[in-house]
């Protein structure tokens, strides 16, 4: 099992003062009795767990969606969600893992395979028969909003293809795109590159691999460790050069910054160097703005835009920088969601036994969007799975704030989700 140093999350259970604030905020415990709540399965149950027990004492911890609302509201800084993730990993280490969870943890592989023949893959996955089969055989809920593979190539192939058109500059920034941008939503990456270049930065897209988050949340720590080690090898060099590594997938950046090192107890000098260099793209753009270096040649965009900051974004503890930047765009009537969680929580809402829980959790957010009236044409949200869930729950299209910003610079078509003139 994984070593437990004083630096790991285990000892943080000592910070719990039993106040139950986390339990009262937990979006999952609010809608189902299957989850006894974050304090119960986290710092409380942790005192009753040890490695090598006759059997794992509790399985209800698996109903934690890992949204980290508990961490957010905890007045004493207990790493509750991480305690739960570790407990789940212990169950996996003791009892193995289902094929479904193994698959859900491997979206990079799925992305790669599907991208070989995306149309075929989309048909194969998205026809009603397959969905029923996946539901019955695999336990992947047939209604859940699975993504579509990109039919106009991966983000990687676009970067290669357009290499000679890319901006060269002394000011450089490294872009971490993550798997979803690579295989399902390359347009997010294109928007990010356009915005960064518009602001005079040369964008470096180094070789990289999955951050390992889907595995961390399904308890496959060993495999996740290999992934994180891979990224440390591929990216730490740039960090040493003092380059910022920015990402559009807010859960990936969180994993590189915090989740992987903490959960896996990886605190080497390399891991720490990488950790300190990673930024969420809007966190970084806000720095630029505060330094007076963000271009403000915005086109007016007249729309009511409900915006939801994903749980994983709030977990960065950097405020809501995407919102701050979007507010600079003339014409946007930004409506901030105070919903706790959309319910999808990465791979959680795809699981047949948790799909309805996810939808019940998301109702708070869907209801908020409905309340904004009929003028709403789209929503904005920084995390891919949250956007898919938002679209599923509201019937409205959802965009990454970087797409909105790129559109405001006149570089991007929000309707077609493509760069202008491409």
């Amino acid at each position: 099992m994984f070593t437990e140093s004083w630096l790991s999350v285990g000892p943080s259970l000592d910070d719990c003062i039993k106040c139950n604030i986390c339990s009262s905020y937990c979006p999952v415990a609010a809608v189902t009795d299957l989850f006894p709540g974050p304090k119960y399965v986290g710092p409380q149950a942790q005192r009753f767990r040890e490695n090598g027990q006759p059997h794992s004492p509790d399985h209800s911890v698996d109903y934690c969606s890992g949204c980290r609302v508990c961490n957010e509201v905890c007045p004493t800084g207990v790493k509750i969600a991480e305690l739960n993730a570790r407990a789940r990993a212990q169950i996996v280490a003791d009892q193995g893992i289902s094929l479904r969870n193994r698959l859900l943890g491997r979206n990079e592989l799925l992305g790669k395979v599907g991208s070989i023949a995306p149309s075929l893959a989309n048909f194969g996955l998205h026809n009603p028969v397959s969905r029923v089969l996946a539901d019955k055989v695999m336990g992947i809920a047939k209604e859940a909003p699975l993504p579509h593979w990109s039919r106009n190539g991966t983000f990687g192939s676009w970067i290669k293809r357009t290499g000679d058109q890319r901006l060269r500059s002394d000011r450089k920034v490294v872009y971490y795109h993550g798997c979803a941008t690579m295989y399902y939503e390359p347009f997010i990456g294109k928007a990010a590159v356009a915005v960064l270049e518009h602001n005079g930065f040369e964008v470096i897209v180094p070789p990289q691999n999955c951050c390992g988050l889907p595995m961390l949340s399904n308890g496959e720590f060993k495999a996740a460790r290999n992934y994180h080690e891979g990224n440390i090898q591929k990216l730490t060099g740039y960090a040493r050069e003092g380059l910022a590594i920015v990402g559009t997938s807010t859960s990936c950046t969180l994993t590189l910054k915090e989740e992987a090192p903490e959960l896996l107890d990886m605190h080497s000098e390399e891991a720490n160097t990488l950790k300190m260099a990673v930024w969420d793209i809007f966190e970084w753009l806000r720095e630029l703005y505060q330094a007076g270096e963000l271009r403000s040649d915005f086109h007016r965009i007249d729309m009511v835009l409900p915006y939801h900051a994903p749980c994983q974004y709030r977990a960065h503890r950097v405020g809501k920088p995407a919102m701050e930047i979007l507010m600079l765009i003339p014409g946007i009537d930004l409506r901030e969601s105070h919903a706790r969680c959309c319910g999808i929580a990465g791979t959680y809402g795809y699981k047949v036994e948790k799909y309805q829980i996810g939808m019940d959790v998301g109702e708070e957010l869907f209801g908020f969007v409905r309340e904004q009236g009929d003028a709403v044409e789209m929503t904005a949200c920084d995390s891919e799975t949250c956007r898919w869930q938002l679209e599923h729950g509201t019937g409205l299209p959802s965009r990454h704030p970087i797409e909105i910003l790129a559109a405001a610079y006149g570089l991007y078509d929000l309707e077609a989700r493509a760069l202008v003139g491409s």
């Binding site: 140093s5 000892p11 259970l13 000592d14 910070d15 009753f48 027990q53 794992s56």
Partner: protein, 582 residues
């Protein structure tokens, strides 16, 4: 005044006393046991919870070591569910130089204590927080013991065998007959502290199993017994930093052991001579010393959260001994006062360790048999107490049971996973005068919040059931499952089976305000010595709940006071016998 006739009267409801009552009842004697408070209120309930392998004594006290390993093996059979098979390490830290480790190995072989050297790497794999600078690690069959549960189970076994137990009955005098030379003890006069009534118990043989109080009891018969009360302070960390008992491989000293017991790990212990067994004041240097020594076993331990400190008093006895208490023998002592002082009818059993309680009881009853002239053999070594079918206790068992039976909504004490039914069953079927009694029964309030959230809940529940209590200490109640959430469930219709109503509620039970105040005071007592850092935050929250929200310090209590209130008079006089280590 009530009179009771019996053959054997046992005074003291700790491990030894209940062991004696169990043994005597099994041999067919009519047996009565009296205890002035609750079972395990004295030294038994205040120890660190180590089931000795004997390793600690192999070099210094080989006879004790032999007794420990033999009893260790017996208790695994007779008290299985009260024990956890943690295993133990003796580790050589950089400070433990010299030839002690080699002497230790030789002495283990000599005394028959199984000892197996493992690699430091293997030890670190099993205990990642262990000091990585240890040079050698020896594995021994140490374990962890729940002295509360074990004593309750022994007591129940004694009841089933016919013994009668009277708790909250304090001895106010011995019945001494005859004059010079013909003197004999014929029983004792005891006072029911809950209602103040006296009872006279006539016995052919009175056995004092009063531990550190043995000197005071012997005085009642005009006998001098020089007990050396050795106060030991222990510090409990908020969670289990280790899952194996860690001992320093050196001559036994202060703060050289870390015991994982239930949900906490306990560092023990100091050894300070005190004048009075009820002098349990904890000095700041003791806590500091425990933490500093703990750091040598588990670096960083002193920065982790401490949940509580407490002290117990060792009953050490060595005829004519006046030295330091650490040097006094750990062997037990059986005094036959007819031979020693010419006072018949009285035996004193004292000293020893929890691990050897059964052996002590056996030797004591053997001696009594000699006096009473009925030759009956001891069978306790082969008689399991109720509950052994549950197998060894393991850390996750409560969590597992609560989950399996879906009792999450029934928790009264969330920290230690005590369900409402567990609490009610213990309160109804067990002598209960204070919430602290229930703490000893089911671990109420022993977790991180130290009663912050369970005290008011438990008081409310006791207030509801206050007048629905059954015959105290009912034999048909299954004490063996006292601590089992799944066993203590309501039936499917959600009914709690209310036993027959008998109106014998002692004072505190009938006054919820007293219950609340006393328990808060009792919890507070153990937290005051460690008020810093994270536990201070916790106590601040508890303070806001009880003092700001509930105004608990101004609750009316109708002028009553509970039998325990005197324990909460904080003693602020300096301890004259304080020997601070150099």
């Amino acid at each position: 005044m009530k009179h009771i006739e019996t053959e054997i009267l046992v005074i003291g409801g700790g491990a030894t006393g209940t062991g004696v009552a169990w043994d005597a009842a099994l041999r067919g004697f009519k047996t009565v046991l009296v205890e002035k408070r609750d079972l395990t209120h004295g030294t038994t309930g205040r120890y660190h919870g180590l089931l000795h392998s004997g390793g600690r004594y192999v070099v210094k006290d080989p006879q004790s070591a032999r007794e420990c390993i033999a009893e260790n093996r017996i208790l695994r059979r007779t008290h299985t569910h009260c024990l956890e098979e943690t295993g133990g390490f003796f580790v050589v830290t950089p400070e433990d130089e010299g030839d002690f480790p080699d002497r230790f190995v030789a002495a283990c072989a000599e005394t028959g204590v199984p000892c197996n050297e493992i690699t430091v790497a293997e030890a670190l794999r099993r205990e990642p927080l262990l000091n990585p600078r240890v040079s050698r690690v020896f594995e021994v069959p140490d374990g962890a013991a729940d002295s509360f549960l074990a004593t309750h189970a022994t007591a129940q076994a004694a009841r089933i065998a016919g013994a009668e137990l009277f708790l909250y009955h304090e001895v106010v005098g011995l019945l001494v007959e005859g004059g010079e030379g013909e003197c004999r003890v014929a029983g004792a006069r005891v006072r029911d502290v809950a209602n103040g009534e006296d009872v006279e118990i006539h016995a052919a043989m009175t056995i004092s199993a009063t531990g550190a109080w043995a000197g005071q009891l012997a005085k009642m018969a005009g006998i001098e017994v020089e007990i050396i009360p050795g106060k030991g302070t222990m510090v409990a960390m908020n969670h289990r930093l280790v899952n194996t008992v860690l001992n320093r491989c050196k001559m036994p000293a202060d703060g050289d052991i870390l015991v994982p017991i239930h949900t906490v790990s306990v560092i023990g212990t100091t050894d300070v001579r005190v004048t009075d067994p009820e002098h349990l004041r904890i000095e700041p240097w003791e806590v500091q010393f425990m933490l500093d020594e703990g750091d040598k076993l588990v670096p960083g331990l002193s920065k982790a959260r401490v949940v509580r400190a407490w002290a117990g008093v060792r009953p050490l006895y060595q005829e004519g001994y006046t030295g330091a208490s650490r040097e006094a023998t750990r062997q037990f002592t059986l005094l036959d006062h007819r031979e020693r002082d010419g006072v018949a009818g009285l035996l004193t059993i004292t000293g020893g360790k929890w691990t050897t309680f059964r052996l002590m009881a056996e030797k004591t009853v053997d001696k009594a048999v000699g006096h009473l002239g009925e030759l009956k053999g001891c069978i306790t070594a082969n008689t399991p107490v109720p509950g052994v079918e549950q197998g060894f206790y393991w850390l996750g068992h409560r969590l597992h049971e609560v989950e399996a039976a879906r009792l999450q909504g029934q928790l009264v004490c969330e920290c230690e996973l005590v369900t409402r039914s567990m609490l009610e069953n213990a309160a109804r079927n067990n002598p209960t005068v204070t919430l602290d009694d229930l703490r000893r029964d089911v671990r109420l309030g022993m977790g991180p919040c130290q009663g912050g959230f369970c005290t008011y809940r438990a008081v409310g529940i006791l207030h509801e059931i206050g007048d629905q209590r059954s015959e105290i200490g009912a034999v048909d109640w299954n004490v063996a499952f006292l601590q089992s959430p799944a066993y203590n469930q309501d039936d499917e219709a959600g009914n709690r089976h209310l036993p027959l109503t008998i109106d014998n509620s002692p004072l505190a039970i009938s006054s919820p305000n007293l219950l609340l105040r006393d328990f808060l005071q009792e919890r507070w007592k153990g937290v005051t010595p460690i008020l810093w850092g994270r536990q201070l935050k916790q106590e601040r929250l508890d303070e806001l709940i009880y003092l700001s929200l509930m105004n608990a310090d101004h609750l009316p209590d109708d002028g009553g006071s509970s039998p325990l209130s005197e324990f909460y008079n904080f003693d602020t006089t300096p301890n004259e016998n304080m020997d601070i280590p150099e």
